[in-house]
Subunit: 195 residues, 4 copies
DNA sequence: GATGAATGAGCTTTCATTCAT
DNA sequence: AATGAATGAAAGCTCATTCAT
């Protein structure tokens, strides 16, 4: 029954994702995850070779999830300015509805180099996501809306900015909800990138 | 000899800062730090109550260090546009010359909530730094150069952007050195914040 | 189908024998054996009650195998001196052609007392083999060729010597192949035992 | 206090040696050893890097112990025939008084290849012992008492024979005490090796 | 007979912290 | 202030065995 196995693997990914994002990679133990799933520790290892491998599968999972959301926006017949806002909106919505996704990205993936060293070189484990940002940017340049600057500078702005805001929100030091900032921020970003 | 104690405390902070930034908080052990200092493990505990307390002292130390650099820029009689560039420059220079400072900020402080939970609520442990960003921003607004938007939105942009670039640089996926991007980035930021 | 069951049981014994001899009893897992046989772990347990029981059945199997080889030699109408050489020859041939047999004997059976404690007391699990050595010895005494010493002293010489040589060969520290030593060794043994 | 550390290391070696010899390498746990010493598990690791390393240090210790006993015999101004008997005697006395030494050799070292693979290649970890056997043999040849056969053939005889007897004794299937066989066995060996 | 997911006890090893010296 | 041996809880991971299908 390969389908059932797939299903259980995803259950594990989901539970581990939430715990890693909430408590951190090193402070979440395999028994923590197993008991959240009412599953035995030993059985966890029938689905993942090691804690590190699990962490890597999770970031892939997130990359695919966010990448597909971005792809949908990229495919809409709208201006780059409108896409910019939609992306910010999507990012903040994800941060609200599935905060573990963004938190994992920021707090587990970006911060524990040693875990992702082997197997996630460069952006190998987040390629689906990065690719879509690249498409957004290149189409904006092609259509004449965006300045043709170095992609990584633009990428750093976009992702750093959004990540920074989500972080501040997580620290509960933003006076308003994330959604409150959507207009300001997408305008800031667009202003920074436009021709 | 309280002076000498202060000195040794700083030596510990410096060594721990480097190791935590390089290897991560959980993968750096107290014996690691002690042996880097050719000091006994037991003696370390004469200067710090616990590994967590050491981590908190380090972030304070960084906050004061970066805060004073920012203060110097804030006090210069130049336009906000010029300040913006100088801040970007200073940040990237720090990232080049003392990478452990920025890395610690990004990879230890921002990512290990559980460690800083008690004692660093809100921005308590980085107040010196945040205060100077606030001053930069408020003076820019007062002088009429910057739009009077929510401070945290501006802060998130500034810090998220710069942090994102340093992260990309650390991952060795930037095609150029950080200094290459100073103009682009300070322009992007200024464009995003200006009136 | 009791016959088919016997067959599969022997397949398991053969595979387990090879793996135990090669990798050791404790470092060979039941899944190792099962996957070598392309059989499920659960099904293995339809044929053997436990890993220990499997180990015991294997040593019996080896005892019967070697015992029958010895019996054939014992039944030949030749002198004890000639038999001695034939036994050495047979032992070394087995060590060359089916090294797992001798290795299992030396490295699994002789070394893991705790496994064979219950059920293989004394020489219970190698009786077929020991019995034939006994016959060889007693006939040699009866015929006047061998000195009538304590059987176990003779047995220890014979088996210890051969085992020691096979061990040295396995360690790859013998400068020559085992067959090179057949004459020397059978002469040494015969000299030691003769009247 | 390096002396104290040395002392404790030897205590650990002695306790581990006994337990490994008695219960086997894999069935003896580090907690077993620690509690036999009334020492904490963690502290054990201040003296040995791993269970495997401990096993390797033990075999070295035994090699040195037996080597020095052999050396004393080798240095006596007696015939090779007399030395032969003394060696058998010494070996059996050790097997009686410190059975863990011989048992470890036979049941742990000889049988768990995988443990000693790295660091004990060839006879690297038993060189002290083997060297003395070599000296015994070569001097016997030089003095004209022993036949000049391949050393390893002689070594296999000697050690295999003695090991086999100790094994049979351990299995409690020898009708007499080991010492009972000293004359028989040393005569057998001498007859086998003499010119 | 056959499967392989599931269990859970138990292993080796690590490490923050303490404390006698 | 300084040492580093000692502690012991807890981690990641393994594997013989079971059992629902």
């Amino acid at each position: 029954m390969p389908h059932k196995k797939q299903t259980k693997k995803e259950l594990i990914i989901q539970a581990a994702l939430e715990l890693f994002a909430l408590k951190g990679f090193y402070t979440t133990t395999i028994p923590d995850i197993a008991s959240a799933l009412k599953m035995s520790v030993g059985n966890m290892y029938n689905y993942f070779k090691s804690k590190d491998m699990l962490a890597k599968e999770i970031i892939k999972y997130i990359s695919i999830y966010l990448g597909s959301k971005l792809q949908a926006i990229n495919e809409e017949p709208i201006t780059t300015k409108e896409k910019t806002k939609k992306i910010v909106q999507m990012y903040f919505e994800t941060a609200s509805n599935r905060p573990e996704m963004i938190d994992y990205f920021l707090r587990v993936y970006l911060s524990n180099r040693e875990v992702f060293k082997d197997g996630c070189e460069g952006m190998a484990c987040v390629s689906e996501f990065v690719t879509e940002v690249m498409i957004y940017f290149e189409e904006g340049v092609k259509s004449g809306e965006l300045r043709d600057q170095d992609f990584f500078s633009a990428f750093g702005l976009f992702m750093g900015y959004l990540g920074g805001m989500v972080f501040l929100n997580g620290e509960k030091i933003l006076p308003n909800e994330l959604s409150f900032y959507i207009d300001d921020i997408s305008e800031n970003i667009y202003n920074a990138l436009k021709k």
